[in-house]
Every structure is written in C-alpha cells, then in structure tokens.
C-alpha cells in the first residue's frame, strides 16, 4: 500500500496539470494509492504518524527537499515499532529544490515513477543534530563559528568560512565505527576533520540540514543508530 504525501506548496493550480500527469502515470504502473494533501487542516507530522499507525508500508514524499527531510524526521521520531516497516519513496517536483532526490538517482518526475516501480531499496544511517536527523549534509556559512570535536580540540575560523558536515549514509554493513566528516572552506583553502561528536557554536547564523531545515546553534552533531529505508534510482551518486 502506497501513501503519497503532497506538500502544501503543490496544492495550488500551478501544479494541477503536473499532478494529474503523475497520478495518471502511477495508475498506469499500478502504483496508485492514498493521497494526503498537506494544508491548514493536515500537518506533516500528523500525516506521517497516522500512516504509520495504520500500517502503511510505503510513504512517498511528493514535494521538495524540505518535504523529504521532514518526513524522514517524523518517521524516525515516531515511537512505534511499525515505523521500522516503513519505506520512503520520493517524487521530486522541482529539480532545483530536490538535491536529495538527485543524489539518490531520482532526477525527474518520470524517473521517480519508474523508480518506485523498480523498488530498489537502500538503507541509510542518519546523522543526528540536536533532536533532528539528516541524511547527507549540514552546513553553515558564517564568520565566528567555533567547532569542538570529540571534546578534544576546538577549531576556530579566523576568517568567514563555509562549514560543511557530511554523512556518508549508505549502510553496507553495520559498522559501529561510523564517522562523520567536517570540511571548512575559506578563501585561502580547505580543512578536513573526521569526528563522532561535534559541537557547533555560532550566535548569528543557522545550520541548514539537507538544504532545507534550519537548526539554530549551539548544535550537537553526532553519528546515529537511526536508519531509514529509501527507494533509490540506479544512478545514485554518493
């Protein structure tokens, strides 16, 4: 059973033709299912929790990176055992706002429908930032950022810098030694560190996870045991 969660930004008339085409294609592929349209009366957390409680096995995020990130967070944060049975699918509405889908090899809407049909599954180990989770990347572009790694040492940027934290999430085997990678870019060059625990302090700027969700520092970023199963394309690039 598939449940399609349409983000509220696609509920306007602008996307109606596109949604009609998607629904027609999904029906042709025998992938039609329940559609939930987010809006004032239905928020994304309630939609995810309801679907998990009702035993839905595949939730498809129809929208942007933000839609995907939010659904991942609400699946992982759900307390019930049923959440472990849930698989996430993605239909990217606008390629410019769907970098996660692109990385997972889902480059267009027509690709997405075929990929749902092929159902190639991959399990991803998430990284944790405060009480939230991210799949690929967290970044902060600001001056005066202080970074503390594994409580052993502090990194100070003497010039404005882009701080990028990468999770290499595909689970090949369950390695307890999973580490995250920190890269710091400034005009003069690049720095690179690996870590298990990172504290990010900056009073002036937010950390953006997976290009969509804003987290206000101070933020603790760690490896996590949480995993999510996602339907991916053949040409995934991570």
């Amino acid at each position: 059973m598939y449940t399609y969660i349409y983000d509220d930004f696609i509920s306007g008339g602008k996307f109606s033709k596109l949604l009609y085409q998607i629904e027609k294609r999904l029906t042709d592929l025998n992938l039609n299912g329940k559609i939930i349209r987010l809006g004032v009366s239905k928020n994304i957390k309630a939609a995810v929790d309801d679907e998990i409680r009702q035993g839905t096995r595949t939730i498809v995020a129809v929208g942007s990176d933000k839609t995907v990130s939010q659904i991942i967070n609400y699946i992982v944060s759900n307390k019930s055992d049923e959440r472990h049975q849930v698989t996430l699918g993605i239909i990217p509405i606008n390629p410019k706002e769907n970098k996660i889908a692109e990385k997972l090899g889902i480059k267009s809407i027509s690709d997405a429908c075929e990929i749902l049909l092929a159902r190639r599954l991959e399990i991803f180990q998430l990284a944790q930032i405060n009480q939230s989770f991210f799949l690929f990347k967290a970044e902060l572009n600001a001056s005066d950022t202080i970074l503390e790694i594994d409580r052993n040492y502090i990194i100070q940027n003497l010039k404005p810098a882009l701080v990028e934290i990468s999770n290499k999430p595909a689970v090949i085997d369950e390695r307890p030694g999973q580490k995250l990678e920190l890269r710091v870019y400034n005009k003069e060059g690049e720095s690179m560190f690996s870590f298990k625990n990172l504290l990010v302090v900056n009073k002036n700027a937010a950390i953006i996870t997976d290009g969509s969700l804003a987290i206000q520092p101070p933020a603790k970023i760690t490896t996590s045991r949480e995993k999510i199963r996602i339907i991916v394309g053949k040409e995934r690039n991570f």
């Binding site: 052993n152 040492y153 502090i154 990194i155 100070q156 940027n157 003497l158 010039k159 810098a161 710091v184 400034n186 005009k187 003069e188 060059g189 690049e190 720095s191 690179m192 560190f193 690996s194």
Partner: protein, 135 residues
C-alpha cells in the same frame, strides 16, 4: 632538490590525508589520529598520530608532535618524536627537542634544541640523502 622531494612526498603520503588543518584555521587542544595529517594553519596543543605529518611553509605550531614520519616547512615550538624519517625544509624553524630515526635537514633550516637519533628503523626504510647520527 629537497623541495621537489618534499612535494613528491606530500603527494604520495598526504593525498589521502585523514585530517587537514587549512590556512586561517586555528586548532586548540589534543589531537589524536591514526591517519596522515596536513597542517597549513595554526595549532596549539598536542598531536599524536600513527601516520605521517606534513607541516606547510606558513603553518605555526605550538605543540608536541608524535608521528611515524614528518615533513616540516613552517614553525614548530614543541618537542618532536618521530619514529622514522624527519625532513626539515629550508624555511622551517623548530624550537624544541627532536627525536627521530632518520633526519634530513635542508640548508637554512633552524633547529634550536637537542637532536636525538633512535636506531630501531628497519634498514630498507633508510633513504638516500638522509643523515644518520650516531648517539
């Protein structure tokens, strides 16, 4: 010649560096690693790695260093304990005691401190041009 060798050494040994401290970045604290480390910024504290350390021309280090091998181009204030080869480039300045198995120093480099050679390096690791000083 030394500079050329150092560059080649950098490419071979540090292309797969686990840690890079870049320019305009300052690291304070104790730094333990198992891989290769490249430092082109500022470091205050201590560094211990089972791999190699490359310290660039503009790096400024106030720390004790322990590594398998090291190439020093910038300024180091602290003691160095290197299991194998220590290469010191022309512009380098070391203020501290040095302990290593093999030592190569380019003309113009400054070492202010005791130099002690250890002798437990396997013979095949010795490189042409490296200096071995009897204790």
């Amino acid at each position: 010649m030394f500079k050329q060798d150092a560059k080649e050494n950098y490419k071979e040994e540090f292309g797969n560096a686990e840690t890079i401290i870049g320019p305009s970045v300052m690291v304070k604290g104790n730094f333990n690693s198992t891989g290769n480390i490249v430092i082109n910024g500022i470091l205050k504290g201590g560094v211990k790695t089972a791999g190699n350390i490359f310290i660039g021309d503009h790096a400024n280090i106030t720390a004790d260093l322990e590594a398998k091998a090291a190439t020093i181009g910038g300024e180091v204030r602290g003691n160095l304990k290197i299991k194998e080869l220590l290469q010191v480039a022309a512009g380098a300045k070391i203020i501290g005691d040095v302990e290593c198995a093999l030592l190569s120093v380019e003309s113009g480099a400054v070492i202010n401190g005791k130099v002690m050679m250890t002798k437990d390096l396997p013979a095949e690791k010795k490189e042409e041009g490296a200096v071995e000083i009897e204790k």
